[in-house]
Amino acid sequence: MKIFLIGAGQVGTTIVQALHDEHELTVLDLDPARLAPLANRYDVSTVEGNGASRRVLSEAGVASADLLIACTSRDEANLVAAMIAKAVAPRTTTIVRTTNPEYLDVWREGQLDVDFIVSSEVETAHAIARTIGVPAARLTDVFADGQVQLVEFDLEAGCDSGVLDVPLREARVPEDSKIASIIRGDTMILPGGSDELRIGDRIVVIGSPQAAQEWGALIAPGAGKVKDVVVFGAGRAGTAIARQLLEQDIGVRLIETSRERARNVADELPGARVYHSTGMDPDFLDRERIGDAQVAIFAMRDDMKNHYAATLAKVHGIRFTVAVVHEAAAMEVLDRAGVDVMINPRAITAEEIVRFAHDPRTQQVAMLEGDRYEVLDITTRAGSEYAGKKFKEMPIRGGLIGAIVRDGTAIFPHGEDVLRAGDRAIIFTESSRVKDVERAL
């Protein structure tokens, strides 16, 4: 497939990493300094110029593109690029990244001529809301309209002993769920019945939402439903997160440094309690009993402020912290600081875009551990070597089927179940083996 990528920032770079192998990529950006490292590292062609210019796009050959991805940080530039591409090459599929959730609404109502639109803020908010929904989860994702949930847990001291140190076939694991992988240090295990879970493992579970909840209860016994969340920073990300949580009937307190911004958010979100404060003033934290909140989310624009504020909030008694991270390096710093969940909006956006750009049969893709592992949602071909086989008879080839969706309903297969052609299989696999898996199915 011929893909045009406009914007070589963090989102663009992540997309290039995921797609350069299989596709013919042309990357456009105004800044040659961002293009050079891409051109050096990957086999992609780069064009220096304005992606929202018809001349530049035409000269770069957009007329022959199959897919155009506009993922600069400027919404309007992205939209204009997509509109021009549609006009020049009506067959081109267009994907636009936006930071403004309003465009998402307009697009859903069919008033924007774009094939797919991704809002970093909304995706981030969804990701965080899902995580908060399952206590103790590091990361969660959903497939098949929410019927299948993917959850990543770290096994720490204090988790239910019924699942530890016993062969999995004997462990009391929740029904309708499957451990898709165990990550132990640098090795990844696709578990069979004889493998065991140990403290310090990171596990990936695929299961029903109900099972995900049960897993959460096993990993962190005693964690109840979240009702009181504090969000630091009411920028676009913070606002989107607050809105999402409010929709789920979770009480939200928002802390914002800028008076004007605080005022606007208070106008916009009647359900939230908005405070005008830096969030780093111990008196304030104490007076407002911020430490009593169940979850604190740090959504300020500055990773360093999030780092400091998260540490301070922990000092004040917050147990569970979630941070929105912007620079890749901040991930490790915040991890070291004891932040429980970190979410990178750009990575999420890239992931969402890559999902769409994959094999047309592949409906959705989740990336884990950076981009080392992926979860695919693939429809089984009639001629597939797996079709008609029982699950226990399938050879393990670097992938594991966690769930299948048959006629719109999710099934969590046992050994005796049979995979049929037309089933959507939700598969955990290493990124390097994605092609093998796609071919096999």
Partner: protein, 512 residues
């Protein structure tokens, strides 16, 4: 040399920042047209075989004066927000003059003193309903109708009427309307202010016609033997503007219970927001009532007021059954909407019931209605402001906008609401004190409650008070000084204080 030339080029400072000529010109124009309305009572006079000339002559005098004022101040004008206050304030003073002249010219002995006639006219146009007449039934039919008709003209606003019919107000009309209908925010029913004014008048006239029809039917079918066609029109003219002038010495007491209930219902409507009613009745979205916070509070306050009074009446054995419910509801609605009709002598009621009625005088109807006083929406907003104040005492960093019907109310409006209520209460207290002092000077027997009620009733454009000016009483016993004070109170109350008070600030008249 050069410097000297430059300084000369600066010119002399302007004396006034307000276009006085333009304002007077507009007032003259409005007076000219308003004088035309005297043909209505003149026609009635002819019909009843009474002399029409007091109305025609009065109208001619004021009309000619208005015309002269307009001619004398013609030229280039600049009518903006500033001029709006002056125009509206003056217009209402002039309107009362137009209303008073026929009283004087008619030779009616109860109104032959200019101040009394002016009081009666001001009470009419401001829809107060306070009267210096001691024998209402003694005046001629045409004069009685003119009293009623002035209330109808003043009801929704003279400027609103002018806006609807005068083409020259196409520009600058919005400021004028906002000065006359000052509620926290006027809701435009149309993008053009002229259309808004027309729609308001259409609804106003429609409601009046509906009430008149119902009353005529009640009279003709014999359900209410007392209700003549004249009474039907007379009461329709004063119910919809929440005025309160009646045709009987006993106001509505002698009319049938059905009539009293009918009037209660229409008083209730007249105290509701006209923009809301327009949407509900004409655009057929009746659900707007349920969604409107002010309307809900309006209904709730009426219900609570009626309940307190009703329980008192029943418990004290003053009245029972339907009569107790009717009297309590009627008086509560009448006092709260500022209509001022009376169906029972509430002067003899127990203190809690009387105090409730005085309290309701401070509530008023909804914004965008014809009623006076503070208005429900301001109480609603004040309550929200106070609640937020308490919240922020505990949480100093909390940022919470005040919302009305889910929309955020801007801080300036909130300040204006608090400011208005303070000013209103202040003026009320000064008014009550002045009336009490003047009563003591002249030896008029006026209790504290009477003085308080007299100040509240005139400032709130309600009508009856207690004591001498009680339900079936008259304002005649008050001295000229008190009459003057109450004229000012009615004028201030009708324009909701600010547009008039602002005229007394130095910064209004100067550009610096």
């Amino acid at each position: 040399m050069r410097e000297a030339t430059r300084v000369r080029g600066v010119g002399r400072p302007r004396l006034l920042a307000v276009d006085l000529r333009g304002s007077l010109n507009l007032v003259g124009a409005i007076a000219k047209y308003l004088s035309l309305t005297t043909v209505v009572p003149a026609g009635v006079a002819l019909g009843y075989g009474e002399p029409p000339w007091p109305f025609l002559l009065g109208g001619a005098i004021t009309g000619a004066s208005g015309w002269a004022l307009e001619r004398g101040t013609s030229g280039d004008h600049r009518i903006g927000a500033r001029e709006g206050f002056l125009v509206v304030s003056l217009t209402w003073l002039v309107a009362a003059l137009i209303g008073a002249l026929p009283y004087l010219l008619s030779g009616e002995s109860q109104l032959d003193r200019p101040l009394d006639a002016y009081f009666e006219a001001m009470s009419g146009f401001t829809t107060t309903g306070a009267s210096v007449l001691t024998d209402v039934e003694g005046v001629s039919r045409s004069l009685a109708l003119w009293r009623q008709f002035t209330q109808w003209l003043g009801g929704i606003g003279i400027v609103v009427l002018a806006l609807a019919v005068l083409p020259r107000l196409r520009v600058g009309g919005r400021q004028l309307l906002e000065s006359e209908l000052p509620g926290p925010e006027i809701e435009s029913l149309s993008t053009r202010i002229r259309d808004t004014a027309r729609r308001l008048w259409f609804l106003y006239a429609g409601l009046t016609a509906a009430l008149a029809t119902v009353l005529i039917v009640l009279g003709l079918t014999g359900i209410d033997g007392e209700m003549t066609v004249f009474d039907a029109f007379a009461h329709a003219f004063t119910t919809i503007p929440t005025g309160g002038f009646g045709t009987r010495a006993t106001s509505l007491q002698d009319f049938a219970a059905v009539t009293q209930w009918t009037i209660t219902f229409f008083m209730f409507l007249a105290g509701a927001n006209f923009a809301l009613m327009y949407r509900a009745f004409i655009r057929r979205h009746p659900r707007v009532f349920a969604h409107d916070e002010e309307f809900r509070l309006y209904v709730a306050l009426l219900a609570v007021g009626s309940l307190i009074v009703g329980v008192q009446l029943w418990a004290e054995g003053i009245e029972t059954g339907e009569a107790a419910v009717r009297q309590a509801t009627f008086q509560a609605v009448s006092m709260m909407t500022g209509t001022g009709f009376v169906n029972v002598d509430f002067d003899v009621w127990p203190v809690l019931a009387s105090m409730t009625l005085v309290g309701l005088m401070f509530v008023g109807g909804s914004a965008g209605s014809t009623s006076g006083s503070v208005k429900v929406v301001r109480h609603l907003l004040l309550g929200k402001i106070l609640r937020r104040e308490l919240d922020q005492t505990v949480h100093p960093e909390l940022v919470t906008p005040v919302r009305l019907n889910r929309a955020v109310v801007d801080e300036r409006t909130l300040r204006a609401v608090s400011g208005f209520i303070l000013l209103y209460i202040g003026i009320f207290i000064v008014g009550a004190a002045l009336l009490a002092m003047d009563a003591a000077r002249t030896g008029l027997e006026l209790s504290v409650l009477d003085a308080v009620a007299a100040s509240a009733t005139t400032l709130g454009n309600v009508g009856p008070a207690f004591g001498p000016a009680g339900p079936f009483g008259s304002f005649e016993p008050f001295s000229d000084v008190s009459t003057g004070i109450m004229i000012v109170l009615m004028w201030l109350g009708r324009l909701e204080v600010i547009p008039i008070v602002v005229l007394f600030s130095r910064h209004y008249w100067r550009s610096t």
